[in-house]
């Protein structure tokens, strides 16, 4: 009887996990489809920056690592490295952070703005 009780309790717990319609991983994949299309190669190393890389920009440290890992999962087999030192960089910046970043990086990158606070950056200067 205890096993059946615990079985029901765990089923309730399973039904409270996530949601049937809004799996965050799938949503993240949809968000990054445009980046994948624009990148001129299918394998290699790409930079990745977020609000936390922009001095003065606000960010939520709890989301930082989660978003980075989700992006790596989505972009595989591209290898993501933190920073903007690569020839190509994905910028996951809100509009304020992007403005701040632009002020200090004028002329260094070709910027391709995408939907949902995403930008693809191509480094112009070595």
């Amino acid at each position: 009887m205890a096993s059946i009780y615990f079985g029901f309790r765990n089923l309730r717990h399973a039904m409270a996990t996530g949601s049937l319609t809004g799996d965050p991983v799938t949503q993240w994949e949809v968000r990054f489809q445009a980046v994948k299309k624009l990148l001129p190669f299918k394998r290699g190393v790409v930079g990745y920056i977020t609000n936390s890389d922009v001095p003065g920009a606000k960010y939520d440290p709890n989301n930082e690592q989660g978003e980075y890992t989700l992006t790596q999962y989505t972009m595989a087999p591209i290898i993501l490295v933190r920073g903007d030192n690569e020839a190509w960089t994905i910028a996951n910046l809100n509009s304020k952070a992007f403005q701040l970043w632009s002020q200090t990086n004028q002329g260094k990158f070709r910027v391709m703005p995408l939907k949902d606070d995403l930008y693809l950056l191509q480094r112009l200067t070595p």
Binding site: A2, I4, F6, G7, L20
Partner: protein
């Protein structure tokens, strides 16, 4: 797509069952069930190992499924040739007692609830839990999406948080199944996790049904499935359940060897231990721990021969693991502290206290909320009494030593971890206890008096 994803693994599973049968010719339906559940894991394990070798040589080809088909066909012919004189099928005649019918009916309800829990989790988190998509499904994507450049998955440029050093049991199986299916569908890792859940629960039940009784097997499964640990953890697509499966497989095979004295069982045990090392880094510790435990447990029964058979089974998976670790994988982060700092941490008394407290709390509350399964099992043992067989003493000793030494190994890893200890304990200890819980359940129910006998006496 779900059906196709199941179908794609069937030749590998058949190959696994046939390998088990060729090394252990026991007849009878009770043994057949054990062979089936051993064969599921062995089949998935051999497919992963062979695909790794295949990808090293033919990374531009997509023919691995044909290799599995050929292997299963070859093994089938070998079994038919070996068994041609004794090839006969007789259906088992089973009569259940009232107690067994009651236990089986309860088990059926619990199984349905457990399956519903798992299906719910798969529907809500198709990519699995955090670790699952970040490590195992990510590795599979690297291998599948860029076959010619798949070795780039282990690039030193990859951030260490993705654990590119983790062995590839799940990643290879998922990747070759995607190649065979022809698309990257989440149904494949879901089916794979379902197969390991089935094999894990099935093996516990089938092994106890063979060595003890049907009632004992049913009670053990009520404890396993009723807590729904297996349903929720298995559906998460992490590697802890497959690892627990390879632990219990090794342990069941050691137990059967102690009972039947067939060398093939120890060869299979070695292979299963090797597959544990191919599944997760904790499996490498398990390989060594099982070696030491076997030597001590069989010290007065030609231990070198026992170790020889175990090593014979271990050699192929171990070569693959060592090759992967030596030539492909980036260094492991857990051992990244360096010798001096590790010694300093090991001498820090506060770390010992924190780890012991966490172990105690986790073990006592494991599987429940506030009140865990272990105290319930202790109460069960007091009511039903222990009745170990003296001739199985080496088996109990070997299994007990394996569980204790493995737990000590985990303790040692926490001592030297480069991560914040409290975070590391919270993040991982529950899953480490889970890995040992399923083999512990097997040991427990082999020692406790059969439920049929205990209730008949009362």
């Amino acid at each position: 797509m779900t059906f196709l994803s199941i179908l794609i693994f069937l030749p590998s599973i058949l190959a696994g069952i046939l390998i088990v049968h060729l090394l252990w010719r026991e007849r009878g339906w009770k043994a057949v069930w054990v062979k089936i559940f051993l064969g599921i894991g062995l089949g998935l394990g051999q497919a992963s190992l062979l695909d790794f070798v295949y990808m090293l040589w033919f990374s531009n080809e997509n023919g691995f499924f044909l290799v599995q088909l050929a292997l299963s066909a070859g093994l089938l012919i070998a079994v038919v040739v070996c068994e041609r004189k004794d090839l006969r099928f007789t259906l088992p005649r089973v009569r259940f007692s009232r107690l067994q019918i009651f236990l089986l009916a309860s088990l059926l309800i619990v199984m349905v609830l457990c399956a519903l829990s798992a299906v719910n989790i798969w529907a809500r988190e198709p990519h699995g839990a955090w670790d699952a998509w970040m490590m195992y499904n990510r590795a599979a994507r690297f291998i599948y999406r860029d076959q010619p450049g798949w070795l780039g998955s282990f690039s030193r440029q990859m951030d260490p948080i993705f654990h590119a050093d983790y062995p590839l049991q799940l990643g290879m199986d998922i990747a070759w199944a995607w190649q065979a299916v022809g698309q990257e569908t989440q149904r494949v890792p879901i089916v794979l996790s379902g197969l390991f859940m089935l094999a894990c629960a099935g093996l516990l039940g089938a092994a106890l049904n063979l060595t003890k009784s049907l009632g004992q097997a049913s009670v053990s499964l009520l404890f396993l499935l009723g807590s729904s640990l297996i349903g929720n953890e298995g559906a998460s697509q992490r590697a802890d359940l497959p690892l627990a499966y390879f632990f219990i497989s090794t342990i069941v095979l050691i137990y059967l060897f102690a009972s039947l004295r067939k060398p093939g069982l120890l060869i299979l045990a070695g292979f299963m231990a090797g597959l544990a090392a191919w599944t997760k880094n904790e499996g490498s510790l398990f390989v060594l721990v099982a070696l030491v435990a076997l030597f001590i447990a069989f010290i007065d029964q030609n231990p070198w021969r026992v170790l020889g058979w175990y090593l014979l089974g271990l050699v192929f998976p171990l070569i693959i693991v060592l090759y992967f670790k030596e030539f492909l994988a980036p260094p492991s982060d857990v051992l990244g502290n360096g010798f001096t700092r590790s010694i300093q941490q090991a001498l820090d008394l506060s770390r010992h206290i924190l780890i012991l407290k966490s172990f105690g709390a986790d073990i006592l509350s494991f599987g429940g909320e506030g009140f865990g399964i272990i105290p319930i099992l202790l109460a069960y043992a007091l009511i039903f009494r222990l009745s170990p067989s003296s001739y199985l003493r080496p088996a109990y000793l070997a299994i007990g030593l394996i569980l204790i030494l493995q737990a000590i190994g985990y303790y040692g890893i926490y001592l030297i971890t480069p991560y914040d200890l409290e975070w590391h304990l919270v993040f991982s200890l529950g899953r480490l206890v889970f890995q040992l819980y399923i083999p512990f359940l097997f040991l427990f129910f082999t020692i406790v008096t059969d439920v049929e006998k205990a209730l008949a006496v009362k």
